[in-house]
């Protein structure tokens, strides 16, 4: 069943130690697998694909103006994380989000961190995600980043590193929830024996958080979507459905006297909280991008007047800037006087001469990223890049150093994944979700993305990535 040349030595493998033995927390799963034929696994995989289609668990891909609905391939072999490792992730993320929230609040208000010269003021001002309109903003309960989907990777040394913070509108949580339901059908017996942490209460926790930030007892909650043509529309409708709240588009809403109303069949109804899934600058054509057709004129003014809560707050994108990312360990130290529990990937800032010189002379070893890009675009993986690519990035970096960072080429851990006829190692990352309401909660599970192509390190769904269910084992099963 496992590939004869299954390699667990070059990269950290989640299931097998370098000597080829099964890691303890994967043993019950390994035992189950021994009783299943590869044909049976393939059949289970086929059923899972079909079920995803039937559930409408799809995202849209646009090609020649014609929308095609595709499923995000869900590999049936789970990624399992033991309780001790999860505890560190849980604590590390809480610390990180708490500090980042303080940081965002600070740079839009007192700017102490800039005055104390911990971060150069010029770096913040040159962030496209730093919104002047938000200066002086005091969001309800002081919370900016209500929902976060942090990307982590595990390097050869077995340690988890934070790759990206994703403080804007991270997506994927619906796949995590629905994938769990599908994988439960594939391995029904394992769930009861293994003690997998449940995640199905996520929508309720999300709703509790949204109600908390509104400050009202029975607030009216809406989820603001760009509409059915958005690639994450499945997720938007799924979450609205699961929370029992209205799924609204911009044209459903009107602002009068700084209050936001939905247009219903029985007139206008005031809305108290918006979980928005449209980008900052599209929220309100009066405050931001005047061409936005998706937004609601006057929404930002109503928000500033305290008549509506918005999650996430506009302006959080500043902390997603990859140049700011490099400062997160210093941000944690500055606000909390603590050492970061979760490490950053070492990052070279091309805006700093020393770093830039190093980067330019080591381009063939490093991963270069645009500071404001996401989704695997605008990046170059040095060891795999052609001469022309390296030359191109060399020019780009010299021309606009502020827009680039570089990181060592990391190894992503591997998990057995069903290929045509056997289980082979494939690289994965890990995106847990964090909610910031009355408390900071890390959902004990994650959206694990897997690079389905052999050897590939790119896990993005737009570039041949799939997903895996992530099982976080509960404490009492620690042996």
């Amino acid at each position: 069943m496992f590939a004869a040349d299954y390699d667990s030595t070059t990269h950290y493998d989640e299931m097998f130690a370098p000597d080829g033995t099964c890691r303890p927390h994967y043993e019950p799963f390994f035992e189950t697998l021994k009783g299943v034929s590869i044909e049976k696994l393939k059949q289970l995989q086929f059923t899972t694909d079909k079920a995803q289609m039937a559930m409408g668990m799809t995202f849209n891909v646009y090609h020649d103006k014609q929308g095609i609905e595709k499923i995000l391939h869900l590999d049936i072999i789970p990624r399992i994380i033991n309780a001790a490792e999860w505890k560190k992730i849980d604590e590390g993320l809480k610390q990180r989000i708490y500090a980042l929230n303080l940081f965002i609040d600070d740079i839009y208000n007192d700017q102490k961190i800039l005055k104390d010269n911990v971060i150069p003021a010029g770096l913040i001002e040159s962030c496209p995600g730093y919104l002047k309109q938000c200066i002086g903003l005091k969001p309800p309960k002081g919370i900016w980043c209500h929902i976060t989907g942090t990307d982590l990777i595990r390097d050869r040394d077995g340690e988890f590193y934070v790759l990206e913070d994703n403080l804007r509108c991270p997506s994927g949580v619906s796949y995590q929830l629905e994938s769990r339901e599908l994988i439960k059908r594939v391995f029904p017996n394992l769930f009861s024996n293994l003690g997998v942490s449940p995640i199905s209460d996520y929508p309720i926790r999300l709703l509790n958080m949204l109600e908390y930030v509104s400050g009202k007892k029975k607030p009216v909650v809406g989820l603001l979507t760009p509409g059915i043509y958005n690639s994450a529309y499945f997720e938007h409708s799924y979450l609205a459905h699961a929370m029992g709240v209205e799924l609204v588009v911009g044209q459903d809403l009107v602002v009068k006297n700084n209050r936001v109303y939905m247009q219903t069949t029985s007139g206008h109804e005031q809305i108290d909280v918006l979980y928005r899934r449209i980008d900052d600058t599209f929220l309100d054509p009066l405050a931001f991008n005047p061409d936005s057709q998706l937004g609601v004129p006057g929404l930002f003014q109503a928000y500033k007047a305290g008549q509506i809560a918005i999650a996430n707050a506009p302006g959080t994108g500043v902390a997603d800037d990859k140049a700011v990312y490099a400062y997160v360990p210093r941000i944690i130290k500055y606000y909390l006087n603590e050492e970061p529990i979760l490490a950053n990937v070492p990052t070279y800032l091309c805006s700093e001469k020393k770093d830039r010189d190093y980067v330019l002379s080591h381009l063939n070893e490093l991963v270069v990223k645009e500071t404001n890009a996401a989704g695997g675009v605008g990046m170059m993986i040095g060891p795999r890049a052609s001469k022309q690519e390296i030359e191109m990035f060399n020019k780009r970096i010299r021309k606009n150093p502020r827009n680039y960072i570089a990181q060592p080429t990391l190894s992503l851990s591997t998990v057995p994944t069903l290929s045509d006829r056997q289980l082979e190692p494939r690289h994965v990352d890990l995106r847990p979700y964090v909610l910031y309401g009355q408390d900071i909660e890390v959902i004990p599970g994650a959206f694990t993305r897997v690079a389905l192509r052999k050897g590939s390190l790119i896990v993005n769904s737009s570039q041949g990535g799939g997903s895996k269910d992530t099982w976080v084992l509960q404490e009492e099963h620690l042996s």
């Binding site: 289609m53 039937a54 559930m55 409408g56 509409g227 059915i228 529309y233 409708s237 799924y238 609205a240 459905h241 709240v245 209205e246 799924l247 609204v248 588009v249 044209q251 459903d252 009107v254 939905m262 247009q263 219903t264 069949t265 057709q293």
Partner: protein
Amino acid sequence: MLSRVANCVYWLGRYLERSENYSRFIDVNFNLMLDLPPNVKEQWEPLIRATGDYQLYINQYENFDRQTAIYFLAFDDNNPNSLCMSITKARENARIARDYLTKESWEKLNEIYLFVKEGMKNEIWKKDDSAEFFRDVKYGIQLLYGIADNSVARTEGWYISHLGQYLERADKTSRILDVKYHILLPSVDEVGSPLDFLHWTALLKSVSGFSTYRRFYGKIDPVRVVELLVLDKYFPRSIFFCLTNAEICLKKLSGTTGKGYSNSAEKKLGALQSKLEYEDVDDVISYGLHEYLDSLQIEINHISDAIHDNFFKIKQEFTSQKNIQE
């Protein structure tokens, strides 16, 4: 309920009903062909006429052969009312109103949609035994109705989708009756002949009314068929029955109790419903059946417009984005 979503739910009801009707029409016509004598040509033209898309058909195609007719009615992208287009639009509306649908309803509808798409890929219209495909679609939609009946709360959304469903059904019943009646009547010399019987049976089966007719009236009599399909109080596909139930849904929506009306949609629908209530089949025949049905269809369109104005209208500055469906 959001006005925009209400609009989608209304059209979801209409497109689903349209899809179910089309699959039934094709299935019944198929069956009729099986019973025709070998020397009689298959008749698909009347069915095309009944759908109201005759002009569209002859602009594209020359012959009314089975393959072309089925392709046009079920899969043609250029026919906005084809089964495939209707079920796609039903699903598109359901996707928009996804948070109002139960998980079961959504998944069933999605399954039917994928089944129809699969049929398109497999070029069902070229198959000799495609009747089964259309029967499966029909039963799929009926199963969806059954699931909804037992799981959907009787609140706004339910009444809106049923309002759409009843108006669509009234319209479709009137259309199929109109066309079939015209084609059948000239064959007066064949009254009582096996062929005549087959045709009337097919008409009744097209609206699932054959058994009911037999129980109510026994022998086939064109006037009684008209009576059943236009004025009957108990048959769920008669125009009167549909209008009566549409009115109940509409009143639930506007919260109107008792007699009278509280908006222009109720006024129009109530007037039409009462008109039918106080008419008998002789009034219909003496008015001229075709003229009568024609004016009914126009009235139903006006009612649909009035419903849109009263319940679904979105604010003025966004009229360019208004969801126009028909």
